[in-house]
Subunit: 419 residues, 2 copies
């Protein structure tokens, strides 16, 4: 019997190492005899639904190897969320139609919490429908909020970027602070969990040094306490570095970024918690300030990726294929921390049904008593994840990345419009 | 006769390589017998006026060597501008008082255009006052706007950071663009000259690829043409990357960042051209967008400095001391491009009187016909400046930087309040 084909898709916000995971999947798929061709969904699961499928077998090995230092999602990604089959049987049936048409026996879905949920549903549905497809979820999220895995591929590199950028910018503002800018506000990603903001704490050379304040979504924002703490920092160090998570909220649940600002037409202004925090600093303390919003830069900064993160991203991709071909189904490879000093990790697995829709926020013991910093135990947790500099190769002064053909498989089915 | 002391000060916005210049000054000062001690002004010229002077001779050589990979200004900087002696003889007289008290024969001032002007004035004034001090300006500015020098130390590293960050973020937005974010707006520094924004053009893999639009202060912003071009990029590539200089202006001279936005209290909102551009994209085209403002991150990103820039920053520092001890005065070392391919440069000098208050903007031949990009000759100019990766050493996952003692020289004079 001819081996079945496999299909891999990238889902949700991309990371600087998701392509290292893709490479792990590709390499392991080439190695096993149990997988014939490895396909990829163009632009994530939307591509599978639309039968827009990439055949990875046309790629040169030389280019494929560059995936481990290419940020973004090389096959494209999307934020399309499949609803429950009971509410949306159409899309599930379409998936089976596509899987059947292209002789797919394995589905690898590389994403965050929502994607793991989807992967589990597809596993169950294909089984019930009599066309069982082995479905493996592969963890990926800069937010580091997946449960059961010690950490999430993608996070370590952002953490490294944020820690180093915070340290660098702190040296900048420090040198100007005597007579110019005294407060620097650095907005980072993390809508629900503050892991990214927390990682800036690794820039601290000693207690209470820069970043002087870390604003986390886990800690309700209290303007009075905030202003007091900023003042204290300026009084003691001469300057103050604030790292603020985009998801920082007031006690009533309102995001800081949603508060207050309207444009000249009276419309609510879109985005940016950093300018909002700057406004508070300006109004209450009159300090000169600067602010930065790193947005996509942080999650695509492959040039300063963590070596540990790159290795783990690759490992979960490879493990997904190995588990699948060993007969596992509806599971997700996870990273297990065996030891913190020296750091040792291994890959294990967890059932997808357990993973779905659980968000891992920063535990209380990781947050300092005043709510504006991280504890020693948080640093101990984070520290191993940013170890090693996986410098990307540069060409002509700029980061060098893969350039794939992404050749389409010929369509066999009628057009389909996703929901 | 005992050799005179020298004093070095950092001025204006710092860069990721200004400390490499400091190291060049320190090393060359140690080598020559014509300089006794090398002092540094704490927080720039303000420190000299206040007699807050650092004695660099207490530093360990091991730490000093780390200056070449330490961003920020290690002795502190300031934006204090000395007025003309005719209007402000008090500060000039104070300088002489401090120079005399500490037996200063050489003054090295490391800054941009204003600082070069100041250095020249101090040279003239000390001569007229009968206490001649050899004054050498040392070029430094991320803005790359000093005349006579082919380029300015500090710029190449920002250019490299911006080009790589643009390429990385473009790969990110590209992967999401099919069904999510289509436009990415990246705000960079450059209030008067667009060199930094222009350098993002080095990220282009081919004509009309990302960054699709570069908005320069040299080109008046035309909303209609802008909207049309963004639409064209999205139609052809599926996404659009816009790099915008903070100094982008309307035809009437009004900065985009000043236009329109007020906060909930009716106050003009402070800063940020990226959100303003995002607003236009949102209103006119309804595309989903993201924006980033790299602010201090860009000029402190020592982890991704250009090797050429680090070498040139060091070279101008060393040359300043060599010129001074060879009898030169009121000059600034400059970088001369001898050849573009392969890149060859050498150090020469220019009289400070010529440098003062001339701003080098982007010439017309470097800007594409439609005003939204850079030409091949601009790329040829910029390309050599970002060559080589001067990776900084990391310690425990984060960039490792120098930690100086910055020991103060005992004060001998009365207190002084700068203007």
């Amino acid at each position: 019997m001819k081996a079945k084909n496999a299909i891999y898709a990238q889902s949700g916000g991309v990371t600087s190492v998701i392509n290292a995971t893709a490479y792990g999947v590709i390499e392991a798929s080439k190695k096993t005899k149990k997988i014939n061709k490895l396909y990829a969904g163009r632009n994530g699961i939307l591509g599978i639904l639309k039968e827009e499928i990439i055949d990875t077998s046309f790629e040169d090995l030389k280019e494929l190897k560059k995936l481990s230092h290419t940020p973004g999602g090389v096959f494209g990604s999307c934020r399309h969320k499949l609803k429950d089959p009971s509410k949306n049987i159409r899309e599930f049936e379409r998936l089976i139609e596509v899987f059947r048409a292209h002789d797919i026996g394995y589905f690898f879905y590389n994403g965050g919490g929502d994607s793991q949920d989807t992967t589990n549903k597809i596993a169950q549905f294909t089984k019930l429908a009599g066309f069982p497809v082995t479905c493996i979820g592969i963890p990926k999220t800069i937010d580091n909020d997946l449960p059961f895995t010690d950490n999430c591929p993608g996070f370590g590199s952002v953490a490294k970027y944020i820690a180093t950028s915070t340290k660098e910018a702190a040296l900048d503002v420090k040198s100007m602070s005597n007579s110019s800018t005294k407060v620097f506000i650095f907005e980072v990603m993390g809508r629900h969990a503050g892991w990214i903001a927390a990682s800036s704490g690794l820039a601290q050379s000693k207690e209470n040094s820069a970043p002087h304040l870390i604003l986390l979504p886990e800690v309700p924002f209290n303007e009075g306490k905030f202003v007091k703490k900023v003042k204290e920092a300026v009084n003691s160090d001469g300057y103050c570095v604030i790292v603020v998570s985009e998801g920082t909220k007031y006690k009533n649940g309102e995001f800081l970024s949603d508060a207050g600002t309207i444009d000249s037409f009276g419309h609510k202004q879109l985005g940016g918690v950093a300018p909002r925090v700057a406004e508070i600093v300006h109004k209450k303390l009159k300090y000169k300030y600067h602010w930065a919003v790193s947005d996509y830069l942080q999650r695509s900064a492959r040039h300063i990726a963590s070596q540990v993160d790159v290795e783990q991203a690759y490992a979960v991709g490879r493990a997904a294929v190995e588990y699948a071909t060993a007969g596992e189904n509806a599971i997700m490879p996870v990273i297990v921390r065996e030891k913190t000093k020296p750091y040792k990790w291994r890959i294990d697995k967890v059932e997808l049904s357990k993973v779905a829709n659980v968000e891992k926020k920063i535990p209380k013991k990781f947050i300092s008593k005043d709510g504006f910093g991280i504890t020693r135990s948080c640093k101990n947790y984070l520290n191993p994840l940013i170890q090693g500099e996986a410098w990307a190769p540069f060409k002509d002064g700029v980061i060098h990345t893969a350039s794939l053909k992404n050749k389409s498989v010929k369509k066999k089915l009628k057009n389909f419009k996703a929901n």
